[in-house]
């Protein structure tokens, strides 16, 4: 054996080195490309879940007492099975789960942040209400109370970086003044253009108008337990005898639409199936006559004075409908103005024996929030006896998560709603957003969650938006008004999100949330490499705690601006350990 080290032939060494590189590149799990600011993609080898990670679950022991009073909620348990996986176990199927978790109120907070910024010893004045630590494209710079909220682009954002380096949210309660600010160039965009200002904006070449169709519906309801509204032919006739176009054209702001279906069309499957009856007063009156309608009796229209997006001028619209019924159909009607605070209760308890005016604004953009809430098995007594064929169709539609697969059920449901006429859908109340003409990417969102990060304000580095009012707080788990939600949405993200300018849901902090066939268990895989504004890394425990502090009324961190967590209760059915009433 020679004492001299053997030298590898150069070509063989190169071959071996190349082979080593190839094997290294091809081995292990697939690298995940993540977008970068320049539109390219950098690949980062995904981290293997940390074996030392101690997953949190809530309840820590056992599960929520589904179906056992006083618990009325639909969440059974939330578990962090590993660093990047969260499992939601539900008491019953929820086809709208993804739509719900995309809502701004369910933004994910860092668990350490929650512990640090919520003081269990006090009910008010929580730091978390005015300090934000999200994962969104903008991070909070300053909240100048009474003046504005300033945000700066978050350089470590996992997705497409914000185009404008700075975003400023300000407010002015007067629509006219917001328009003056826009015309003066003080702001780049304004919310809720005044109804009479639409032509002004459209006629100004330095501005652009983005109409917003409201996710709401105004309807005239019948209670089929009271004659003559128990007669289906009578209900169909009244449906044909109201000129809905006239109501919308004369009494609704621009951007509003006559309702072709009960559900706004922006919601998937909202407008499948036949459109509503055309106005035909002559045919309608003949139908009433043939049905033996008593034209001598005076009937009632019940309504309340509360102004809503779906009904901007209740007394005027009520009077118009009264006039139309008289003029078009010969039906004598008197108006019954009821107290705001009791009207909803009266409606839900089925006590309104005449026609009643009411409406609905979406809590989340899924058709179940419209149809099931009003006509499903769990609906109130507002329309009297339920229609079994409608509830069956809706139950069928809620059995699957795929919108395309659900469509046939909703075609059937809309056909039956048109046939049975539990109510007459009149209008979807709209509004509008206006921008300076040079703002690229300008849009309006049906959910009023315009994304500042995708808008380019001309050659300016600062994007300024003026809305109606100042947020009450920036901890949106405990907020209900749109002003707060808009601010939060720029800085805090949920597991899923709504697409820009739309209502369809898409993955956000979760790469996916898959359900079991019964839709009672949803397994969410978190996106990796996501950091909070304070540098903390997103993990499954953050998700568990973010939900637990809202869900569990007995949790020491179940505190916020006023601790009501209204949206959680509304969308998930109720709190764990609810306080005794």
């Amino acid at each position: 054996m020679s004492r001299t080290p053997r030298r590898w032939p150069p070509r063989l060494a190169a071959l071996i080195a190349t082979a080593a590189l190839v094997f290294t590149a091809c081995g292990g799990t697939t690298a995940t490309p993540i977008p970068t600011a320049d539109g390219g993609a950098a690949t980062v080898a995904p981290s293997t879940p940390d074996a030392s990670f101690e997953g949190m679950s809530h309840p820590a022991d056992g599960e929520a007492p589904c179906g056992t009073a006083p618990y009325t909620g639909n969440i059974k348990k939330i578990t962090a099975t590993d660093q990047n996986t969260v499992v939601f176990d539900l008491c019953a199927s929820d086809v709208a789960f993804l739509s719900k978790i995309a809502f701004s109120a369910f933004g994910i907070n860092d668990s350490d942040w929650l512990t640090e910024k919520i003081d269990p010893s006090q009910n008010e004045n929580q730091p978390i209400v005015s300090e934000v630590n999200g994962t969104g494209p903008y991070r909070l710079t300053a909240w100048n109370r009474g003046a504005d909220i300033t945000m700066e682009a978050f350089p470590e954002y996992w997705g497409d970086k914000a185009i404008a380096q700075t975003a400023i949210l300000k407010w002015n309660t007067e629509a006219a003044q917001r328009l003056v600010e826009l015309q003066a160039g003080q702001v780049d965009g304004i919310d809720n253009v005044g109804p009479t200002d639409f032509p002004t904006v459209e006629g100004d070449s330095s501005l652009q108008l983005q109409p917003r169709t409201g996710l709401n519906t105004f309807y005239v309801g019948f209670n089929n337990k009271f004659a003559p509204w128990d007669n289906e032919t009578v209900r169909q006739a009244v449906a044909m005898g109201i000129d809905r176009n006239r109501i919308v054209d004369n009494f609704y702001p621009p951007g509003s639409q006559v309702a072709s279906h009960f559900t706004p069309c922006e919601i998937p499957n909202g407008c499948v199936g036949p459109e509503w009856y055309e106005f035909d007063a002559a045919a309608a009156k003949q139908m009433l006559t043939d049905a033996g309608f008593d034209f001598d009796q005076t009937y009632k229209i019940h309504y309340r004075a509360a102004v809503r997006g779906y009904l901007p001028d209740p007394p005027v619209v009520a009077t118009e409908i009264q006039t139309q019924l008289q003029t078009n159909l010969g039906i004598k009607v008197e108006l019954d103005l009821q107290d705001d605070t009791t009207y909803l209760d009266n409606a839900d308890e089925g006590l309104l024996d005449g026609l009643h005016l009411l409406g609905w604004g979406a809590d989340y953009p899924d058709i179940t929030n419209f149809l099931d809430y009003h006509f499903g098995a769990g609906a109130s007594a507002q329309f009297g006896d339920k229609f079994d064929d409608i509830t069956a169709a809706l139950a069928q539609g809620a059995a699957g998560a795929d919108d395309a697969a659900r469509e046939p059920s909703y075609v059937t449901a809309n056909e039956l709603i048109k046939q049975h006429v539990p109510m007459i859908p009149i209008a979807h109340g709209g509004s509008g957003v206006a921008y300076r003409a040079d703002v690229e990417g300008a849009h309006s969102s049906p959910l009023s969650n315009e994304k500042f990060s995708v808008m380019q304000p001309g050659d300016r580095t600062q994007f300024v938006f003026s809305q109606n009012g100042e947020p009450g707080g920036l901890y949106c788990a405990d907020e209900t008004d749109g002003e707060a939600l808009r601010a939060c949405e720029q800085m805090v993200e949920s597991l899923y999100s709504y697409e820009t300018a739309g209502t369809a849901v898409e993955p956000a902090l979760a790469e996916s949330c898959e359900s079991n066939p019964e839709l009672t268990q949803w397994t969410c895989t978190l996106r990796q490499g996501v950091t909070f504004h304070n540098g903390a890394t997103l993990d499954a425990n953050d998700v568990v705690l973010s939900y637990a502090v809202q869900w569990d009324a007995a949790h020491e961190l179940h505190k916020g601006r006023d601790g009501s967590f209204t949206y959680f209760s509304a969308l998930f059915g109720g709190f764990l350990n609810p306080p005794a009433e």
Binding site: E124, N125, Q177, V180, G185, G472
Partner: protein, 358 residues
């Protein structure tokens, strides 16, 4: 004088108590439920039960009033239903906006109003007199929201690309900041009443910028203050101008003025030193009343120009049935009026030695 002041202060206690009782009662008597005002259609029975318990609204009215008096006695104005923050914090935050606007408006109103009144009186029945009185009448006649909107549109939109452009709303341009005095002077750890006072003065952007030498910020703040000050100050200006004119005309007709002229005193000295000073007594009263009114907050002007001052805060609190802020802000207004009236009375005695405070 000291006895007078002490007596007036003592008399103000029942006045303030009456104001507190009246506002407490009226706020709860007006239709509308705070829970429904807060949550709208999401106000379910369980939510409202918890809401009422949290804010003590489930207790009998008398008990609520006693509890409120007790907290008031300890210097606590309670927590805002709408904001979930101490009412005192909200007042400290928003009062400077109103005070700053009031001072600017009154400076405008007094300087211009007295000048117009003076010129009008000197040039009585001349075109100048007629012209100034027309301006005064217009000022009183035009609704403040019309004037405010017109000023905003004219200076922000019509004069947009000219040197005369002014911002239509807000207190500072987007992106411009004036740091709090506590931050600038490294007094973040200061607490208690001194900190409250510092934060109050800090909230007046013009004062803050002036004392810290932030000239860019001062200029920006003053540009934003100009239009709302004109809008708010126009009505007091008109009243002060007319009052100065009529009061000065009356004084200039008195014997001592004739004597001064006969003695050869220069006309300017007669008018300014002898006439105006004596004519200012009723004007001071008007200024005091106007000051008190403005300090309670110019709701319309603050709304139009996007200023979150006490007027707008009080208005929005009434809408949202935020009883805590309604009570706290109204108490503040009552204190203002009592204080301003006292200052006016004392000033009267100073201006006119013949007036004896008794």
């Amino acid at each position: 004088m000291p006895r007078f002041i002490i007596r007036r202060l003592l008399l103000s206690i029942p006045v303030l108590f009456g104001a507190v009782l009246l506002v407490f009662t009226l706020a709860r008597v007006i239709p509308g439920d705070p829970c429904i005002a807060t949550y709208g259609e999401k106000a379910t029975e369980s939510i409202c039960n918890a809401f009422n318990i949290r804010y003590g609204l489930d207790r009998p009215l008398f008990e609520q009033f006693i509890v409120y008096l007790q907290t008031l006695g300890s210097g606590d104005l309670g927590y805002s239903i709408r904001f979930g923050r101490p009412v005192a914090d909200i007042i400290i935050e928003r009062l400077p906006v109103t005070v700053e606007l009031t001072i600017a408006a009154m400076i405008f109103a007094v300087v211009v109003g007295v000048t117009l009144g003076l010129v009008s009186a000197i040039r009585r029945n001349s075109p100048v007199d007629v012209g100034t009185m027309i301006i005064a009448n217009l000022g009183v006649s035009i609704p403040v929201f019309v004037l405010g909107l017109f000023l905003a549109y004219a200076f922000a939109v019509l004069l947009k690309d000219t040197p005369l452009v002014l911002p239509p709303s807000g207190r500072l341009s987007p992106g411009v900041t004036i740091p709090p005095l506590a931050t600038t002077w490294g007094l973040q750890d200061l607490a208690g009443p001194p900190r409250v006072l510092l934060d109050f003065f800090s909230g007046m952007h013009t004062f803050n910028a002036l004392v810290t030498g932030n000239w860019a910020g001062l200029g920006d703040a003053m540009r934003h203050l100009l239009l709302p000050a004109i809008a708010v100050g126009t009505i007091p200006l008109a009243i002060i101008a007319r009052m100065t004119r009529s009061s000065l005309l009356e004084v200039l007709g008195l014997d001592f003025v004739r004597t001064a002229r006969a003695k050869g005193v220069k006309d300017r000295a007669v008018v300014i030193r002898h006439g105006l000073r004596n004519a200012m007594l009723p004007v001071v009263t008007v200024i005091g009343l106007s000051l008190g009114a403005l300090l309670s907050g110019a709701v319309l002007t603050e709304t139009i120009f996007g200023l979150t001052g006490m007027g707008r805060t009080l208005f929005e609190s009434i809408n949202s049935r935020d009883y805590s802020i309604i009570q706290g802000a109204t108490l503040l207004v009552a204190v203002f009026y009592v204080t301003v009236n006292l200052v006016v009375d004392v000033l009267y005695a100073y201006l006119d030695p013949r007036v004896r405070l008794s």
